[in-house]
Homo-oligomer: 329 residues x 2
């Protein structure tokens, strides 16, 4: 392809990115080599990083604005899982020639939208040219009360396992984008595509369950795989009830049409919901919290002594799963 028109790095930073640093004095309007931050008194800085690559984590033809949002949101999902309040982020973009001025402007618009929605500010980054695919790396920076960060570890035998939202939509959205016929209405197809392109990080939920949940992580590798990570870090087993796992109306329709099955949805990645463990004594409190936040919290199983993850079908028998999740590598 012909290289798209693009100005030099300094102009792009000045025009498109520097305005995104407003409100954080330590970003120095992106005119310096580094940013300086100090956590609020009594708080820790929480740092997390995830990269997304065209053709692996998003489709090269996705809108520039949703690519920007996804790059941010997969990281905000990690902050959410740790109970942290988002504050700032850094962005490194490895840009192919095809990402020109028009593309970059739409990309910056996506960032701007999400900065406002989630209350964070750009404090630095880097842009490099690449002959390879568009690759975006975000470091999200949040704050949490000192020593209180939610961990994958510390789920206890006897805890309920909860999950936010619904599972499996993003994987189905990718299938729709790849022109697979799932026999769905336009509305359902569009909702699944949106879930793939623009995940909804559960930032408010993560902060709300701080002090209630014993353990938490975000579901990015697949529900089974990520429950496996929690089980391993917590030295417990996790038992899930297949019938209780929340599915969207669109995912239910795909299953009813025989175009999807539950096992695939439980092992697909990219959900960006939170899975967390909490004592049964907190059921009423968590249900009330979910109602207040207008987010679905569903009890899907329990932590027990032992190791690994088991999923029980409606007949009470353990389901066979041929893969345990999506490995990015």
């Amino acid at each position: 392809m012909t290289p798209a028109k693009r100005r030099g790095e300094f102009e792009v930073i000045a025009e498109l990115f520097a305005p995104l640093s407003k409100g954080e004095p330590g970003a120095f309007a992106l005119t310096d080599d580094a940013a300086a931050l100090r956590p609020k008194p009594g708080h820790d800085i929480v740092l997390t990083t995830d990269a997304i690559v065209a053709g692996v984590h998003f489709l090269p033809g996705d809108p520039a604005s949703t690519i920007a949002q996804k790059a941010l949101r997969v990281n905000l999902s990690d902050l959410a899982a740790k109970g942290a309040k988002p504050r700032a982020y850094m962005l490194t973009a490895a840009l192919p020639d095809t990402a020109g001025d028009v593309w970059l402007k739409a990309f910056a618009e996506g960032l701007k939208h999400d900065q406002k929605k989630f209350g964070l500010t750009l404090i630095g980054g880097d842009t490099v040219a690449t002959p390879g695919p568009l690759t975006l790396n975000v470091v999200a920076i949040g704050e949490v009360a000192h020593g209180k960060m939610l961990r994958r570890a510390h789920a206890k035998a006897g805890d309920d396992i909860w999950v936010t939202g619904a599972i499996g939509d993003a994987a189905l959205g990718l299938r729709v984008l790849r022109d697979e016929d799932l026999g769905l209405s336009e509305r359902h197809s569009a909702s699944l595509i949106a879930r793939y392109r623009v995940p909804e990080p559960r930032v408010a939920a993560g902060q709300a369950i701080l002090g209630i949940a014993h353990a938490c992580l975000d579901v990015s590798d697949g529900l089974i795989a990520d429950c496996g990570h929690m089980a391993e870090a917590s030295k417990v087993a996790i038992e899930l009830r297949a019938a209780d796992i929340p599915l969207s109306p669109a995912a239910q329709a795909a299953i009813a049409n025989g175009r999807a099955n539950l096992a695939d949805l439980l092992t697909a990645g990219d959900d960006y919901e939170l899975a967390f463990a909490a004592a049964p004594a907190h059921r009423a409190r968590l249900t009330a919290l979910a109602a207040k936040l207008k987010i679905r919290f569903t009890r899907i199983g329990k932590a027990v002594k032992g190791k690994g993850v088991r999923v029980y079908g409606p007949d009470g028998a353990a389901m066979e799963l041929d893969r345990t999740g999506f490995t990015h590598f």
Copy 2:
């Protein structure tokens, strides 16, 4: 090429990278989604990020260990320029199929070496597969006394401009690696290659000039271009004396052979020396500091009223430069 043998992401993290997180409890041995950090009392966290891409910032055939070192050091150079003490880093690696187990092991060895040398710890990261070139993004995290971070801005008319080490070696090292004949001895060629592959971030110098220098940055885009950044941020002009700019014996030999000229060296990138502005009253103190640190500090010019950068040749006339520096974009 045939994909090299490589294990899954989780095994690589556990075996090669998790040991690099030892000593920072908030890294949670890389078993969680995020790290938690708190600056030392009275300090700010300083964050900086730079990415390097195979074929752009290093050669694909460079040793894995020096690629790791360069990825870290270009970021440590930014911390150095801010007067910050290195503490931790995050690493995102976009790996092509050709980076297999043997390569990754050597890569991790390079990180380990530099962690020890510079006193910092790996606290997180991400690995993704890419069909493109190897791309490494590091976020370096340091600490500096609250509000004291050295800036590009705040050089004052009348200040001396100083530079550490020597200028132009890395650009010549790249030419040697590309099989250009510079007419140099093996020893000189090897020293230039080392300067290209493994820059020496001036971490001790940066901390030492904190409270003395008015402004500082690291020379990554070329001495002229970076002095231009300082001039612009500080709202002064910078005048450099060509004859005073420090060159290594190898670079002097290349010039003597007619295979390099000073103008090229002043506009090449990748030096990773510090350029800083300080009042003339501090000359003796800075000279003593340099001796103590065993680093060369050279006065190469001054800040004056006005804008832009001018370089004066030995005849007192301003030199013509056909480009002002290396733009990564």
